[in-house]
Amino acid sequence: MAAVTSLGETSLAAPAVVSRGMQARRRRRLNLFRYLTFLIFGLFFLLPLLAMVRFSLEGSKLGTWSLSGWRQIVSYQGVGIPPLASAVEITLELAVITSVVVLALLVPTMIWVRLRVQWLARTLEFVCLLPLTIPAIVLAVGLFPVYNRIEHYSISALMLFWAYVILALPYAYRALAAGLNAMDVTTLSEAARGLGASWFTVIVRVIAPNMWQAILNALLLTSALVLGEFTLAYFLSFYNLQFELYSISRNTANATVIFSTSAASLMFAFVLLLILSYVGRRRRGRG
């Protein structure tokens, strides 16, 4: 017995030392590789952004500095297109409306399917992820005649939200599904039902409050998507932020205002997503 143990110990101890030596070397090499990678990719990702910010601060003469590009965000008026500020406003409104509709549509349906109609779960998932595989451009071609017809009644760009809800479905679905999976929906609902709650109460006052972080995630992702959307707005010729910027750049190729607005919208999206990553971390910490 003793012999076996000591034999086992020596044979274990020897490679352990070797492998610790190897690991230290590997660690060093790995760290070198990591920092080099971060440096190169960091430059690749930062330089275009820095160039954009620098250009947004360009004065009337090349090489000078000025804040006029940033001031123009509120006042810029291109030829033959709506003022920039109105496009910004419409895009923000679209973000809010789209998020609300996505949540109103998806949250009750997903909870309901989880509780009562399990057999529809796969279909629901498939349908929600479908917009990932149908390019926005195909959707635009299909919606072209529809919107063309209703444009006769001069409908505002806010009507884009009908289609944006579809584009946001996959992202919202994934965020919400993660939230639903993190809790025991069946037990919660059985407890609530056992105490006499109606299905409405179960969904609105029991389950939904338990997944507010997932709901927030879905909200932020949807907003980020709407802020960056171009294809549908372009095809249906509604002036949202991206189409407006595109149109300005067609008229005046190097207007500083397009760079300041781009930089601002990008920073806004980045802040949204940063909030999201912190919210996600807190949930993990608590669970």
Partner: protein
Amino acid sequence: MAVAATTQDGARPARAGRRPSVPGWVGTVPFFAYVGVFLLLPTGIVIWDSLRNTTGGWYLTSVSQLASPQVRGYFIGSVKLCLISSAGGAALGAILAYAVASGNPDGAVRRLYISASGVLAQFGGVTLAFAFLVLIGPIGLLLHASWYFDFPWGISLIYAYFQIPLMVLVFMPAIDGLKVQWREASENLGASTWQYWRYVGAPLLTPAFLGATLLLFANALSAFATIQAWENQIAYIVPQQISTSLSSEVGLANVNYADVLALGMVIMVAIVMTGYALLQRRAARWLR
């Protein structure tokens, strides 16, 4: 076990008795109605219309336009751009994903890269084309690259800007799935770093890598904003040609032609995504 069975059995009749009822699926009708009208209907319209000719007959003459050399050129352009940007993006993204994943799993670097990837993967809009225009375009601050307006290389570089972050996002779970124990086991058996990657790491990651590459391919295929802002005079890829045919300056929007091109895209994406789903299933075997 028995308790659970009785509560279930006990609860069912009571509930059913209280409200003899509407079937459960009725609750999902609003959702499916919405999706039906705004997703399935438009897609259906495209497919339906592309199978008819302009006079309304059921001919495949419209679809046969797909075989014309001109149309084939746009599809070849699309495939070229998608191949280059997805292969390059996947390779570089995998390296970056590994560099990020091998650090502290709760560290600031990782959180920064993940949320930055989340933003940049979505950053395919016109803003991206602007950013590169002022970096390496004709008015570039870094250099005036003569190849900036070259198809497919110039635009592929720009596409890498959102393809690499997307790769980081989709490939990271696969790298996280590589267990430390496998590395330790192979080291204890005397394997070198190269041998570990050649015989353990690479075979494990290959399905996930190929799947992610296909996803990047589909992503590049449906991207439109960036290339349109990069160059709107010449149509290189299918979406641009769809755009030209719909917004014809003579006022004769050729909707039927656009439908046919869109059908071609749907078919391509369907093929790519089927491959993705199959590879994903294969890759899932090793994840947890």
